[in-house]
Amino acid sequence: MIEARRGLRFLLNDEEIALADAAPDETLLDWLRLRRSLRGTKEGCAEGDCGACTVLVGRLCGGQLVYEGVNACIRFLGSLDGCHVVTVEHLKGRDGTLHPVQQAMVDFHGSQCGFCTPGFVMSLYGLWMRSPDPSDEEIEKALQGNLCRCTGYEAIIRAARAVSSYGQGGTDALALERDAVASRLKAMRDGRRVEIGEGRQRLVVPASVDDLAAVLEAEPAATIVAGSTDVGLWVTKFMREISPAVFIGGLQELQAISEANGFVTIGAGVSYSQARSFLAQRIPALGTLIDRIGGDQVRNMGTIGGNIANGSPIGDMPPPLIALGATVTLRRGGERRSVPLEDFFIAYGKQDRRPGEFVEALHVPLPKDGAHFSVYKVTKRRDEDITAALGAFHLGIEGGTVSSARIAYGGMAATPKRARAVEAALTGQPWSQETVEAALAAYDEDYQPISDMRASAEYRMLAAKNLLRRFFIETTGTKKPFTVKRYEEA
């Protein structure tokens, strides 16, 4: 085996960084502000919810250099090996001219207190790169992860709409240096594992999936860090030790998503953003759902595999994947086993993952022709909110009769959980209002939800039942609209 490299290498704006002393739990934000004195990037919440710390991270994906907005507050240095970190300080032209995104924000009065502004600028910059003349819907989606308390957003939206009228951004550093950056990043890839520190300070970046398997066999108690949208909070909010931390976000082998024989296979490292359009084309309801998970920054970091592996009862991907009948592949060393996803979640905080094992991939059967599949997420705030109750419905209906039913909910129990009694009450019955109303009683067998800050138990139960009603209306009704929508779906 090649000897491990003892330091991280990445680009910060136009500077090459070599870090031999990065701690496993050192966040990009603290490093930027405290060690690099780049204080344009702000801390608003330290949990990936406000976007004041938004920076762009560029990485090579299949040879292409892709820049994505991320939350620096919950991004660890260990995840940046071979990446290009771009902060707000990099936007202004060398001659001092503002970038079109910045100039539009100035001209349209898009800042008041200004504290969230660098984050907004970076999110809009990321949007501008991928969509120079965006629709309002795209703008709003790009800003789901940015909170502003002063402006009411209207001025920011006006600025975002106007950016394209400021020319092509000829001085844009990333456009000018794109090829150079790509080759610099390519040159950093030496195929070596990175290992830094010992004991409580141990950080490992495996060189490959096989290497990851080897690392975990040797250190089964290691913390696996993919998108760090959850592990980030273990550090910033709970000050938990995560050493040894194994960073898998750079493993391209885990980022494959493909379809064959009626199954979609999702590598454990596929982010929501990477999965979105692929899944939306095949299972539209999942595309709509992903758009309501976190903000853009969280979707760029967070992985579907991580959403499964951490086993939260309010994770949004497990219920629909359970309803679809997905299985999860777990790997330890060279051994693999496959588990139906619904059996993976044993109890609150307890998953069927053995020491040294990691989630490698998910296999999701596509709904059969004629089957109905819908997912409904209910939250206090429409976007960037954590589920109060989420229902996923997958029904086969043949000749007006329910031939098969897989229904699963999040937020209703200590784990993502199937509604087996409700399924039983529907299966074999005519798909009718009467059947639906009769099945509602079965919810009390399936779920005893709790009251917390997101919703009362009473509301959770009522909303959960009403989601079945909504599903029925949607599959049979004629009087639209069936629910409230910000945008008509294309």
Binding site: D30, R33, S37, R39, G40, T41, K42, G44, E47, D49, T87, V88, E89, L91, Q102, M105, V106, D107, H109, G110, S111, Q112, C113, G114, F115, C116, T117, P118, Q144, N146, L147, C148, R149, C150, T151, G152, Y153, E154, A155, T236, M239, T379, K380, R381, R382, D383, D385, I386, D452, M453, E458, Y459, L462, N466, L467, R470, P481, T483, V484, R486
Partner: protein, 784 residues
């Protein structure tokens, strides 16, 4: 930046009043170059503090073992209440009910009981968690719904407003009803959390950089806590990353701890709480329970109203007295109550001490008034807008005897009729109400609703002595001008507005006016930048200072060039003296050579106002600000989820100093008000622990929560009734309450499930859960 070249022939200066100047820091905001306190270069050896918070809501501290904290890596010192050298109190109203660090007893879950000082912030945070504190729990009160406003413990005496005989009027009215409304609180969620950096000086001196709306109060509190004269303490703030009232008194604690530690250790000390600690340990908007009784006739004319406004104040008085007073001052909103009695009850609870928040109790007062209007409308079966219009105060110039507030101040400047009429027309209220009815008739699941609500908001601090301001202006010999005043910049654009006033006064380009950080060393004894008063007060004070210098220049020029003073005229960037024009800079230089004083301290106090709290009578407000909003919503009657389809706003800000800034205030305030009444929900558990202490659990509006269609206009005909600065009007708070239109549109949509026969009595915040539960209730009541 190169020096600005003034145009000596232009007909207008750049950046005078009534121009849409950008925020003075906009170009620094977008590049990340604007310096907030946490961005300042730290003096060598700066230490970092973290607060240790109580984990009991009401308890005596049996023991507090901090040995593990003291021996944790990087820890330099640990402070407790006993280490406060002066007075361990930061009560802003002098009630001595709020310790810097609690000693012996805690009164809310999250109360600061010690502070760790360490080499890094991270070390201080980690060390805090090692404390071993044992409590003997005492009975605790969290919720006010079960309290008796008239007999339970208050943090400060309540107020009673009374005009006429409300009880008799209600009893004698053809119809009457009573009800109760719960109105939730609100976290400020300034994006920049609290922060203070204290740098020790010689003798007793300390300089504190504090993210505060009230530098003078921070100065005084720090001085008290240190036991030193105020002259030893200098407080400076260039900008805050948002305030909204949350940094009016709540900065005191952080500043005091940083200063105590800095003086004790002889090193700079910074404290920046994590967002969770910030939200847990600092006060919020008061939540209220309003009991109301109203007498009215079959037309919907309100004849008498009786209100009790009970507020959850938390463990100390803080600003709860004036906040609950202001709730009563707005129990009328824009309506004349022929007979009224309103009582406030600032109740003691074992929760964080609630504080100022944009509107300062006024919003809760108005929400109560609007509930009464809504109840009457449902009772008489009319559109609530009709009832609103029926009960308005007399318009300005009209005198049908409906022009006196519950606190006996005449309403002389009322333009609400015109605002509402214009908005009603421009947003096509009537046409859309018909369309909505047609839509609802054919839509079983999704229901729409619409509401148009007015705002009348009183401008001035109700503490009369706060209505004063100072400014300091220097003209330098190159003609550039240094501007300082007591107002603070939190994003609202105060600095640019005041600079515009000064530029206008001197007739020089605004580029020649240097905006400088607010500091207690330049302008003393200032009032909080609050109560929407920033530009009214500081604009006038700065104008006064500039005018003094201008008058001296005028006198000097008249004498030197031997012309009458009338022949000295300030033109853009130049002064006409007799027949010649002299560049402003040259005249200043000449004045300097002639030993003319080129520096002036300006002062302003608001005229006309007075208030006798014991009698409940007076003229507490210099004037009123008006506006109205119409919102349309869609709700899903299966889940309670909703979308704001459209909002139209017409708001007046007098002859605006800067319409772009004012428009931003109106838009931002509306969204913040909407958030308060919709998704922003504070939840405490049965241990008194706040469960919504971060943006993951506390949901302020996003860009995608804006109304899908959002039309905001400033009334172009508006002009202040009183001689305010350039006849402009305050804008900070009044538009916050325009958010009520969304609450009432949601209520209207809910009511449609039973053909508007049942008042939904939708409490705030109207989360999807509350909307769904209201739908269920309305259906149940309607079906008998």
């Amino acid at each position: 930046m190169t020096a600005h070249q003034s145009n000596l022939t232009s007909s207008r200066i750049s950046g005078g009043v009534a121009t849409d100047r950008r925020h003075d820091s906009a170009h620094k905001h977008v590049t990340g170059e604007a310096v907030y306190i946490d961005d300042m270069p730290e003096p060598a050896g700066t230490l970092h503090a973290c607060l240790g918070l109580s984990t009991a809501a009401h308890a005596t501290i049996r023991s507090m073992d901090l040995s593990a904290v003291r021996s944790a890596p990087g820890v330099i010192d640990v402070l407790t209440g006993e280490d406060v050298p002066g007075e361990n109190d930061i009560s802003p109203t002098g009630k001595h009910d709020e310790p810097v660090l609690a000693v012996g007893k805690v009164q809310f879950f999250g109360q600061p009981i010690f502070a760790v000082i360490a080499k890094t912030r991270e070390q201080a945070r980690r060390a805090c968690r090692l404390a071993k504190v044992e409590y003997d729990e005492l009975p605790a009160v969290f919720d006010i719904a079960g309290l008796d406003p008239l007999s339970d413990r208050l943090v400060t005496p309540g107020l009673t407003l009374k005009r006429g005989e409300a009880a008799a009027a209600i009893a004698g009215a053809p119809r009457s009803l009573k009800g109760r409304m719960a109105i939730g609180g609100q976290d400020h969620f300034y994006l920049e959390g609290h922060i203070a950096l204290a740098v020790p000086g010689e003798d007793h001196d300390v300089t504190v950089y504090s993210s505060t709306q009230h530098p003078s109060e921070v100065q005084h509190m720090v001085a008290h806590a240190l036991g030193v004269p105020s002259h030893a303490v200098t407080v400076e703030i260039r900008r805050m990353g948002g305030g909204f009232g949350g940094k009016e008194t709540q900065s005191n604690q952080f500043a005091a701890i940083a200063a105590i530690a800095a003086k004790r250790l002889g090193r700079a000390v910074k404290i920046r709480p994590d967002r969770d600690d910030d939200m847990t340990a600092t006060g919020k908007r008061h939540d209220f329970v309003v009991d109301y009784e109203v007498g009215f006739d079959d037309e919907g004319n309100i004849l008498g109203v009786d209100f009790v406004y009970a507020a959850r104040c938390g463990f100390s008085s803080d600003l709860s007295g004036p906040v609950t007073d202001r709730a009563l001052f707005h129990c009328d909103n824009a309506y004349f109550w022929p007979a009224v009695k309103a009582v406030s009850a600032p109740l003691y609870t074992n929760t964080v001490s609630n504080t100022a928040f944009r509107g300062f109790g006024g919003p809760q007062g108005m929400v109560g008034a609007e509930r009464v209007i809504e109840e009457v409308a449902f009772a008489v079966g009319k559109d609530p807008l009709e009832i609103r219009k029926l009960n308005f105060y007399d318009a300005a110039g009209e005198s049908s005897g409906r022009g006196v507030t519950p606190y006996h101040q005449p309403v002389e400047d009322n333009v609400v009729h015109r605002i509402v009429a214009e908005l009603e027309q421009s947003c096509d209220y009537a046409g859309r109400r018909r369309e909505i009815a047609a839509f609802n008739a054919n839509s079983p699941i999704v229901k729409r609703g619409i509401a148009l609500t007015p705002v009348k908001f009183g401008i001035s601090f109700t503490a009369t002595h706060y209505n004063q301001a100072g400014a300091l202006v220097h003209a330098y010999t190159d003609g550039s001008v240094h501007l300082n005043h007591g107002g603070t910049e939190m994003g609202q654009g105060l600095y640019i507005k005041v600079a515009q006033v000064v530029a206008e006064e001197f007739q020089i380009d605004i580029e020649q006016v240097k905006i400088t950080a607010t500091t207690t060393g330049k302008v003393p004894n200032t009032s909080a930048t609050a109560a929407s008063s920033g530009s009214d007060l500081n604009g006038m004070a700065a104008q006064n200072a500039a005018r003094q210098i201008r008058d001296r220049l005028t006198a000097f020029a008249a004498e030197k060039y031997e012309v009458p003073v009338e022949q000295v005229v300030f033109l853009p960037n130049r002064v006409r003296v007799g027949n010649q024009e002299i560049p402003f800079a040259d005249l200043v230089k000449q004045a300097y050579m002639a030993r003319i004083q080129l520096s002036a301290a300006g002062f302003y106090k608001t005229p006309k106002i007075h208030w006798d709290r014991d009698k409940g009578r007076g003229h507490p407000f210099y004037y009123f600000a008006y506006g109205a909003a119409c919102s349309e919503v869609s709700i899903d009657t299966l889940t309670g989820e909703y979308v704001v389809e459209r909002t139209d706003i017409l708001h007046e800000t007098g002859r605006s100093l800067n319409r772009a800034i004012d428009l931003g205030q109106v838009e931002g305030a509306f969204i913040q008000g909407m958030g308060w009444l919709t998704t922003e929900e504070l939840v405490w558990d049965d241990k008194g622990r706040l469960r919504t202490h971060a943006p993951s659990t506390y949901k302020i509006p996003l860009a995608s929560d804006r109304p899908k269609i959002f039309n905001v206009a400033l009334a172009d005909w508006s002009e202040a009734f009183e001689p305010t600065v350039h006849r402009s009007k305050a804008v900070g708070e009044p538009p916050f309450m325009l958010g009520m239109a969304v609450l009432h549109a949601l209520s209207d949509a809910v009511a449609s499930v039973a053909e508007h026969r049942v008042c939904p009595r939708l409490d705030a915040p109207a989360t999807p859960e509350r909307v769904l539960m209201a739908v269920e209730r309305v259906r149940k009541v309607a079906s008998g």
